[in-house]
Amino acid sequence: MDKRTKILDNYSARVFKNRKDHIVELEDAADPQSIAANSRAIPGVMTNRGCCYAGCKGVVLGPLKDVVTITHGPIGCGFYTWGTRRNKAKAGDDGKNFIEYSFSTDMQEPDIVFGGEKKLKQAITEAVEIFKPACIMICSTCPVGLIGDDIHAVATWTEETYKIKCVAYSCEGYKGVSQSAGHHIANNSLMKYVIGTGDKAPTQKFSVNILGEYNIGGDGWETSRILKRIGYEVISVFTGDGSYEEIKNAHTANLNLVQCHRSINYIAEMMKTKYGIDWIKVNFIGVDETVRSLREMAAYFDDADLTARTEAVIADELANIADDMAYYKSKLQGKKAGLFCGGSRSHHYQNLLADLGVETVVAGYEFAHRDDYEGREVIPTIKTDADSKNIEEMTVTPDEKHFRLLLSKEKFEQLAKAIDLEAYAGMIKDMGNGTVVVDDFNHYETEQLIELFKPDVFYSGVKDKYVIQKIGVVSRQLHSYDYSGPYAGFKGAVNFARDTTMGVSTPAWNYVTPPWRTVPTLEGKIGGEE
């Protein structure tokens, strides 16, 4: 029985029929089989997925530090997204940092019965009075859509009454099939209402936006540190330590860097159409990948000085971490890893693990789409279904005032052959033959995978972490980095290597089995020797 069959073996016919297409054992990674993704989770199967609201408020909007983001709904959703994701932020010049706060309308029964718009307006009035924010965002949770509160009308009312920016997001948890729908909804409205509304021009020659970098554990700060060293101006970050004030001006940047493809590729594409800004798929996780990303950026701008600075910075940074990386590699070489995260990291971290001599034997995503697995070339072949149809596909047109192309068509095409210009090859092609890829992995399959692959370390989230460790395999959280980090860039790679080494080698592993459990065998041996 191959591994895939073994995983599926215990399922009932019903569940088997669904899950079989979400699990792929790679025969030829260079020309991979196709995988089913972004479809409904099966009721009752313990998926690791969250909801649309989690993707919209929790992932994309939550990190905007100068925005009062009000969760319109009962208390739970807003409470759970308070301070739990580790998207770090420091207040900017305006002193505004709302990341430490949680705002909710805490809807009560009468609001559900008679409608919650009145309470939402009241909440906004109070937020304005107490905090005087420049921007308020409203995120709705499950019941709001059902009772028909018009949060968009409330947003308009807010703008008229208080002369501030207000954007509403109908990101009810039941929309779509996972967090992914929420990313899309957030992307659409940022594009529609925020990007392009500022006019602060860049001050330096080479400017970029970083898209899909949420500054978990300070990743974005490490990335920005390197970029600034080389001489780039970072206009805005979507959205880690990001701000409404900055992303207003995002359209003025020369180039978009896409870190998390899943959560933000919509904005990258729409900005290309509307403003002519090219994007490249970067990856600042892993030493080799960071180097590749920096070189591709330099290739894009094609400037002798910039290229020289890039190489100088790379050489210096590499020299700084060489000893540490060599040491940790000596500890980790030959180990095997399982890697399960949201929609991008399971790919990104394979590169970093490879830097350390660790092989990824099984990997998958919670809520990726087929293009994240198989590469963007499959996008035209992805069929829309009832769930994806419910999420608006926004069409944008060129903005005459701001549209400009940095590269000529010929130059673009030539460069596209050399670098990841508006391309993403997906995770699978970087994996080895015989490895297994699982989409929307669940609790049961996680146990099976560990049994079959016996990885030395398993990267996942907090819902799995303690299950995996109880089995006897160290588990590190890749959503929150187990409260460590940054893991990005050069210095981050060392942090990651240190944390992983610590996890596999902590002495507590030696004490799992009490000595008396092994006493009978010991006695037997002693008897035999005599």
Binding site: S12, W82, A123, Y466
Partner: protein, 454 residues
């Protein structure tokens, strides 16, 4: 830290800032995890239970299992009947629990899904059980979710056979496994035959063995829950948490109950011990009297470091009331006590405690939030803060010594194993409180004032 919180307080009617409660379903999941071989099931879209599992895992550093009906947009329009039926089938197939405990979410409540009917229509495998409870998150808090789920189990399962089983039921309130173990230890020492329900010890503090067990050894068993109906009596600990299910049991099976406060501090533990000794008709054993004596001894020795210090306490209603009562016994002043859970009984009980101990200038509030608590502190500071991890921001902003107790504690280890109930728990609280204050004294004093002996 929290730099945008102004000192000036304006009354809020719409905006909840930095809540001190969460929604019902997570309480329902926690209650269900306290039943042996039970799968908690969330009837709604999958986001809720993802949050709830994260929340519980982060507090306990343990797996927190729960399944979901995974609503989609269509389900929300047409109802969740087919989803929950499929879900139940799959859960029994794949995870093989003995019982599934379904709770609703604000979504399924808003569309008015009727779980009674759905459960009747389900194919439930022979010998397996499905129960449910309604836990709309737009009413009450996680505390109501906890007791509603308890009532759900009782409604479906508890049976009065007409013959009492000689047992006392103990409802432990929304407490940690460490607390539940301590309450059970006391009951055993008193020789009482009891059923604790729910009981998350052995589940949410399961040991490392190298084998993962989806259903660890702990938890109240189904026969024990059925047997609640034959108990002679129930001790409902923490009126605001445990009285509802006790009343449910009384309605259904005519089992009498006594409501006692959570056994936090001396008087409340005395009451617990006395009640059990009356029930079991046993003398209080020396082992307990010794612990009690140790506690009083410690309090006499250490009082100078906390006497008349002011403290702000926030969190779940019965826990906060328990800690309030104990700090009063210690001679401290509970200047602010606050819960996010809406229940005016809380305020009444807190005020009664203030009166009993003759403290003035203390404020109690239900349905409050941590933003408001912080503003109170900005206006009139306190010497110590006691509550969940979410207070660490206030502690840092105002530079106040901080003791973690209650739910959730997301940023420390071991807490869920250690009791704050019983005499032992009170000893631990004295240690935590005096250490926090004395560490502060050491940190802030001039070099020449540093005391080696304290």
């Amino acid at each position: 830290m929290l730099d945008l919180t102004p000192k000036e307080i304006i009354e809020r009617k719409g905006l909840r800032i930095n809540p001190c409660k969460t929604c019902q379903p997570v309480g329902a999941v926690y209650a269900a995890l306290g039943v042996h071989k039970c799968m908690p099931h969330s009837h709604g879209s999958q986001g809720c239970v993802s949050f709830h599992r994260m929340f519980l895992s982060r507090h306990f550093k343990e797996p927190a299992i729960a399944s979901t009906s995974s609503f989609t947009e269509g389900t929300s329009v047409f109802g969740g009947g087919s989803n929950v039926k499929t879900a139940v089938k799959n859960v029994f197939d794949i995870y093989n629990p003995d019982i599934i405990a379904i709770h609703t979410t604000c979504l399924s409540e808003t569309i008015g899904d009727d779980l009674n009917t759905y459960i009747q229509q389900m194919e439930i495998p022979e010998g397996k059980i499905v129960v449910h409870s309604n836990t709309p998150s737009y009413a009450g808090s996680h505390i109501s979710g906890y007791f509603n789920m308890m009532s759900g189990f009782i409604k479906y399962l508890a049976k009065n056979t007409g013959e009492d089983n000689g047992k006392i039921g103990i409802f432990p309130g929304f407490t940690n496994p460490g607390d539940m173990r301590e309450m059970k230890k006391i009951a055993k020492l008193l020789g009482a035959d009891f059923t604790m329900f729910p009981d998350t010890s052995g589940v949410m503090d399961a040991p490392m063995t190298g084998n993962y067990e989806m259903y660890p050894k702990g938890g109240t068993t189904i026969p024990e829950i059925i047997g609640l109906g034959d108990c002679k009596k129930v001790l409902a600990l923490g009126e605001l948490t445990s009285m509802e299910p006790a009343m449910e049991l009384k309605r259904k099976c005519e089992v009498d109950f006594d409501c006692l406060p959570l056994p936090i501090g001396i008087e409340a533990t005395d009451a617990y011990v006395t009640a059990l000794s009356h029930f079991a008709k046993t003398e209080v054993p020396y082992a307990l009297e010794e612990e009690r004596g140790q506690l009083v001894d410690i309090m006499l020795d250490s009082h100078a470091y906390y006497d008349k210090k002011t403290v702000a306490i926030y969190g779940d209603p019965d826990t906060v009331l328990g800690i309030t009562s104990f700090v009063l016994e210690m001679g401290m002043i509970p200047k602010y006590v606050l819960t996010g859970t809406p229940n005016e009984k809380f305020t009444k009980k807190a005020n009664a405690l203030f009166e009993k101990f003759g403290v003035t200038d203390c404020k109690a509030k239900a349905s409050g939030d941590l933003f408001e608590l912080h503003q109170w502190i900005k206006n009139e500071p306190v010497d110590l803060l006691i509550g969940s991890s979410y207070g660490k921001q206030i502690a840092k902003a105002e530079d106040i010594p901080f003791v973690r107790a209650g739910f959730p504690v997301l940023d420390r280890y071991v807490h869920s194993y250690m009791p704050i109930v019983g005499y032992k728990g009170a000893i631990r609280l004295v240690e935590l409180i005096s250490n926090a204050l004395m560490d502060r004294q050491d940190r802030d004093c001039a070099d020449e004032d540093m005391e080696l002996v304290m």
